[in-house]
Symmetry: C2
């Protein structure tokens, strides 16, 4: 494979997903750190050369750039056991990855970022007003995951796929945003199961 460089912020769960996928696959990944709080992903150079959307992570493959964390994971894992060979299961894996970006990340990851990185006292009035709704929607996402994991060891079938990696990233740090995991015992057991897999790495080295 061509040289892989991850343009990232190491505290971001979205960036961690890509490192975790690469670790499971034994793929070496060069890392380039950006301080998003200082606007380093909004500079003219970044917008023109890395991602016009001004966001990290971006996976660089040779001289091509691939934004969107879950798309980058798919690129790395395409054709491996982290992507199911069965057509329905492959789509079902993507179902959980789209759920993660639509129903999970904007609530659980954003709350963590606002609470643990920005600080509640520094939020705008509009952000503060959105917090209760995000907390409720984040708990709804965790409850849905818990019901699913009651019947299944992993999100798709009984082996680790990108669905688990995508959902693990922000679920395991959800308490940093004030989410309690005790009401979701199947989620807690699944977190332990994912962390015990050979090849697993932590979000912080």
């Amino acid at each position: 494979m061509e040289k892989l460089t991850l343009h990232e912020n190491s505290a971001s769960g979205n960036c961690y997903k890509i490192r975790l996928t690469a670790a499971h696959l034994g793929l070496p990944l060069n890392r380039r750190e950006y301080d998003t709080m200082k606007g380093e992903t909004r500079t003219p150079h970044f917008l023109a050369n890395v991602n016009a959307n001004g966001r990290i992570p971006v996976l660089q493959i040779g001289d091509r750039f691939l934004p969107e964390s879950n798309a980058a994971c798919f690129f790395l894992a395409d054709g491996t056991t982290l992507v199911p060979a069965d057509r329905f299961e492959r789509a079902d894996m993507l179902r959980w990855m789209f759920f993660e970006q639509y129903s999970h990340e904007p609530n659980i990851a954003t709350t963590r970022f606002w609470v643990a990185f920005v600080g509640v006292e520094r939020l705008s009035e509009l952000q503060k007003a959105q917090l209760p709704g995000k907390r409720e929607a984040g708990n709804a996402a965790l409850a849905l995951m818990d019901r699913h994991l009651e019947k299944s060891g992993f999100f798709v079938g009984e082996t680790l796929t990108l669905a688990d990696i995508a959902l693990y990233a922000y679920t395991h740090v959800a308490p940093e945003g004030g989410f309690e995991l005790a009401p979701y015992p199947h989620v807690a057991a699944w977190l332990d199961r994912v962390a015990a897999m050979p090849g697993h790495i932590r979000i912080v080295d």
Copy 2:
């Protein structure tokens, strides 16, 4: 293929994506309509049997249920020309589909729903306060698309893929939410290009 049933609301762009994908592939699709404004996707029966997340669309394949619009499109189109055979292009298609669900739909589709279906006067104070931010982020998504389409006939390479179908669904009805497309001439030309493809169907029959 097993019998396909789309659990949907026909005005929803997310549901339209799946119908449009099926039309391009010549796949027959049974349709079951739900009135989301009357809570028909939050009934105990729907939550227990169709989607625990209380959302449409859900694609039913035989007796299996697949939520998330873009995952359902992927299931239908997997192995066809709507999904690029090249590994990077396949991931790049998913990149635009994740962009659609994260940066486009929550702004452009939600604004359309609030303005054209719920009505501004019926919005909560919190929803009203979010509208300017959603309008700004929606325009940023359209501007990003416009810059990309300046250099490319379709989102991935020079043929129609699921990335175009996913982004077409809510872009072509964005004016219903008050978004002007005139500032985005490359988007407007691409909308015409997609609508002129053989096999295209409109959102309303």
